[in-house]
């Protein structure tokens, strides 16, 4: 297990190095000079040159790459071209919204999907199974922004249980902050839960057909006992894969939901940064997201090994 973890860790570091190189080169080849963009079309060439020097755009590329990576490693993400504030601070503020939101949504989605998937698999082909499958089909089909607007209409405007949008801020207390994240988290979680429930169901149905499930029944386990004791853990591998993918998506892909609920999250930050050629912000946020995805994959790999002993022994 230790050797397996170290190997995964080594692969994580290599992936990060490669990703940083790719991101840096892609952003570098993107058209548009930030200095020129910031100063407007009528700027004098020497003003542009001065700004370029100030922003550190005039040194060789490889040195800028090393500075950038070195800075990231020490928490210095550079200074935003447009806002003139440290990128680290901007990203950190947004992360305090996006990360809790993603975790919240993931927790909700898992809490809904596991029971739903197991329930449906245990009743394969019966009305209950058909009902779960129908509801999940609907969950996948409904666009999440529309669903989000319905949530606002019902829970915020009619019932006045939650705010219609905006983020209360963590300084108002955890309760207020979580409350303002609840509707967005539900809006994000339901489509994910629908997918996850279907994956759980089909993984479990595969496992139910395995020989060892019959062996378990021959030992005297009831259908339900066999399902819980031998089925669920064996069905977890594909489910973990999907959970990993979903977390990465939730962290960065929630821009529409952020827009609907007017949340100051990472998605909106990237959107704004791209439209104003704020390359340093784009680079940092993209790198951060890549970092998150790679770390999540690492955790998923560890979870695989925890679930399946065959992976542990294979070094």
């Amino acid at each position: 297990m230790l050797r397996y973890s170290l190997k995964r860790l080594a692969s994580l570091i290599v992936s990060l190095a490669v990703a940083s190189l790719v991101i840096f080169s892609v952003v570098e080849v993107a058209p548009g000079d930030p200095a020129r963009f910031m100063l407007g079309i009528n700027a004098q060439p020497d003003t542009v040159a001065a700004l370029r020097a100030e922003l550190g755009l005039d040194v060789p590329k490889w040195q800028r790459y090393l500075d950038w990576v070195g800075g990231m490693a020490t928490g210095d993400f550079g200074t935003s071209y447009t806002y003139r504030t440290p990128v680290a601070q901007m990203v950190a503020d947004r992360l305090w919204v996006s990360l809790p939101l993603a975790l919240y949504a993931l927790m909700l989605s898992t809490l809904i999907a596991f029971p739903a998937g197991i329930f449906a698999a245990a009743r394969r082909g019966r009305p209950a199974d058909a009902a779960v499958m129908g509801v999940t089909q609907l969950g996948i089909a409904i666009p999440n922004f529309w669903f989000a607007m319905m949530l606002v209409l019902i829970f915020a405007i009619k019932l006045r249980l939650f705010g219609a949008g905006g983020f209360a801020g963590w300084d108002k207390g955890a309760w207020a902050a979580m409350k303002s994240l609840t509707l967005p988290a539900v809006a994000l979680a339901l489509p994910q839960a629908a997918i996850l429930a279907r994956v759980m169901r089909s993984a479990l149905l595969d496992v139910l057909g395995e020989d060892y499930m019959r062996t378990a029944r021959a030992k005297g386990l009831s259908r339900r006992q066999a399902l819980w004791r031998h089925g669920v853990r064996n069905a977890l591998i594909p489910v973990l894969t999907i959970i990993g993918l979903q977390f990465s998506f939730l962290l960065a892909g929630s821009i529409i939901i952020e827009q609907v609920f007017y949340l100051p999250g990472l998605g909106r930050l990237v959107f704004q940064a791209i439209s104003s050629r704020d390359l340093i912000v784009v680079e940092s946020v993209v790198m951060l997201l890549v970092f998150a995805v790679i770390v999540v994959n690492f955790l998923v790999d560890l979870a695989y090994a925890a679930v399946d002993p065959r992976l542990r022994s294979r070094t």
Binding site: E210, D211, Y212, R214, T215, A216, R217, A218, K219, G220, L221, S222, R223, Q225, R229, H230, R233, N234, V307, D308, P309, R310, S313, R314, T315
Partner: protein, 534 residues
């Protein structure tokens, strides 16, 4: 006669509208081994599952299955759960998949005890160790914390047996318990089962298609066909005097000897010279040579034109690796393989000119065809090896000829593969091999998945084809009796090496190498009684 432990009377079973069992009656006394035998579809496994109450959901049963004084068919699911594992233990065919891969072996054995709340956890742990020890997995060599993937097939079957006997059930049901195992492992597992029955006084209901195993193990035999019992009796009496023609047919087919024509005078066709095949092992350290596993070691032999050669050995001995090397599917690390004096592998690629002179027939008649293609397309697949494949009428004639040669009709060319039975599919596989008139055919366990009566027909077909086409083939099999009947010469492989080689009859009647002797001794044999006396 002693009081019977299990008595099935007039059991009928329907799944959907399909009748599966019709009025089956049999009984097992304590300490007795009753073998139920028959070909696929005879209902023997369904009989076992009926006793366990583990039939498919739509199954409807009539009749009675009495265990002691209770009628199992009348019990509800909860009551059956209490009986399964405690009063009846069951061992399955496929040890590789019968265990949960994510739980330790001791854990799975303990579960049988704990689920019935038969003992406290500590006592259950001790009992699990004790039964694992009893089935030949002592804790000092096989720590209870092992996972199933760390054990071989035979060892896994021992774990399954330990689970089944952990609570000393009165009845043990074994459904093809050794079919998936090598002969030497099979002999050990059969010994173990016999020993357990004797020690614990259990009754055992054994389901198997292998008549040699039946004759060796059972006190009584029940022969089934199409859901009905056609004949039953004590082993000795039944073997001495088979009344039902189906029983006689089964036994005759199992010892079926084919009449091979004499091979032509020796002229070398295939030359295998000092061949070794290495596989790279997984790399353990970054900068250290990962090491190799030598699956085939320095193998040399010559196969003459028109000769039928057998290749026998247990799983992992390298016979499949050698087969792939001969077919030119993989390069070899040492030595060379020549067909008609031409190497099968030139430079870094297989030599197509040689490749088209060889064809292969695989074991699985169900998995080796693309289900979406018609038979015509399936059997003409080897044509892509030819520079100038026949077209139009010539192609149709070739298809018709190949189908006719294997005993099918030319009209079958337009059908899909699912319309054929296992034996017919194997005929189609042979037609596919024959269609380009190869110099050499490799039969890789080609009859192992077939019922004995079908197997006998396919073996006869081989003999006919030898007469008609002067076939040269290599017959790879773990089944010694089959190899004995369809080959002129035999190679015995062990751990990548050929340990014995000689004329088939000589090797089987007077084996020289100890491994060959062990193999032949382990293979269960049918006694000569009964067959032929009518």
């Amino acid at each position: 006669m002693t009081e019977s432990l299990l008595s099935i009377s007039d059991l009928s079973l329907e799944i959907g509208a399909l009748p599966v069992l019709k009025g089956v009656s049999l009984s097992v006394a304590p300490g007795e081994i009753v073998a139920v035998t028959g070909e696929s579809g005879s209902g023997k496994s369904m009989t076992a599952l009926s006793v366990m109450g583990l039939l498919p959901e739509r199954a409807v049963t009539r009749g009675a299955i009495r265990l002691g004084d209770r009628d199992l068919l009348a019990l509800d699911e909860d009551a059956m759960c209490a009986i399964r594992g405690r009063d009846i233990g069951m061992v399955f065919q496929e040890p590789m998949t019968a265990l949960n891969p994510v739980r330790t072996i001791a854990d799975q054995v303990m579960e049988t005890i704990l689920i019935h709340r038969a003992m406290a956890r500590d006592a259950a742990r001790d009992r699990a160790r004790e039964v694992l020890d009893r089935v030949g997995l002592p804790a000092d060599r096989f720590p209870p914390s092992r996972y199933p993937h760390e054990l071989s097939g035979g060892q896994r079957q021992r774990v399954v047996i330990a689970m089944a006997i952990a609570l000393r059930p009165k009845l043990l049901i074994a459904d093809e318990p050794t079919t998936a195992l090598d002969v030497t492992t099979q002999a050990q597992i059969l010994d173990l089962l016999k020993g357990l029955v004797a020690d614990y006084g259990m009754g055992m209901l054994m389901i198997t298609h292998d008549l040699a195993v039946v004759a060796d193990m059972a006190d009584r035999i029940v022969v089934m066909r199409r859901g009905q019992v056609v004949e039953a009796g004590s082993t000795r009496a039944l073997l001495a005097n088979m009344r039902h023609p189906y029983t006689r047919m089964l036994f005759e087919a199992s010892v079926h000897a084919v009449d091979l024509p004499d091979p032509p005078p020796p002229a070398p066709l295939l030359q295998v010279k000092g061949v070794s095949r290495d596989y790279r092992l997984p790399r353990r350290r970054l900068f250290r040579d990962p090491g190799h596993f030598r699956a085939v070691r320095n193998v040399s032999f010559v196969l003459n034109r028109g000769e039928r050669l057998g290749l026998v050995g247990e799983s992992g001995c390298g016979k499949s690796t050698l087969t792939r090397a001969i077919l030119g599917l993989e390069p070899v690390q040492e030595g060379e393989i020549l067909l008609d004096g031409e190497p099968v592998w030139t430079g870094h690629r297989p030599n197509l000119a040689v490749r088209r002179k060889m064809q292969v027939v695989f074991q699985d008649p169900y998995g080796s065809f693309n289900p979406r293609h018609r038979v015509e397309r399936l059997i003409t697949e080897p044509f892509h090896l030819l520079d100038d494949p026949p077209k139009g009428a010539a192609r149709r004639a070739a298809v018709a000829e190949a189908l006719r040669a294997v005993g099918l009709s030319p009209e079958d060319a337009g059908k899909y593969i699912h319309e054929f039975s296992g034996g017919q599919r194997q005929r189609i596989a042979i037609a596919r091999a024959l269609i380009i008139r190869p110099e050499l055919i490799l039969f890789d366990e080609a009859v192992s998945a077939l019922d004995v009566s079908v197997r006998a027909q396919i073996l006869d077909l081989l003999a006919d084809l030898c007469r008609e086409y002067d076939l040269t083939y290599i017959f790879i099999s773990h089944d010694l009796s089959v190899v004995r009947s369809v080959t002129d010469r035999v190679l015995v492989m062990k751990a990548g090496e050929i340990v014995e080689e000689g004329a088939t009859e000589d090797v089987f009647s007077a084996p020289r190498h100890p491994y060959t002797r062990a193999l032949i001794a382990a293979a269960p044999r049918l006694p000569d009684v009964g067959v032929g006396e009518r």
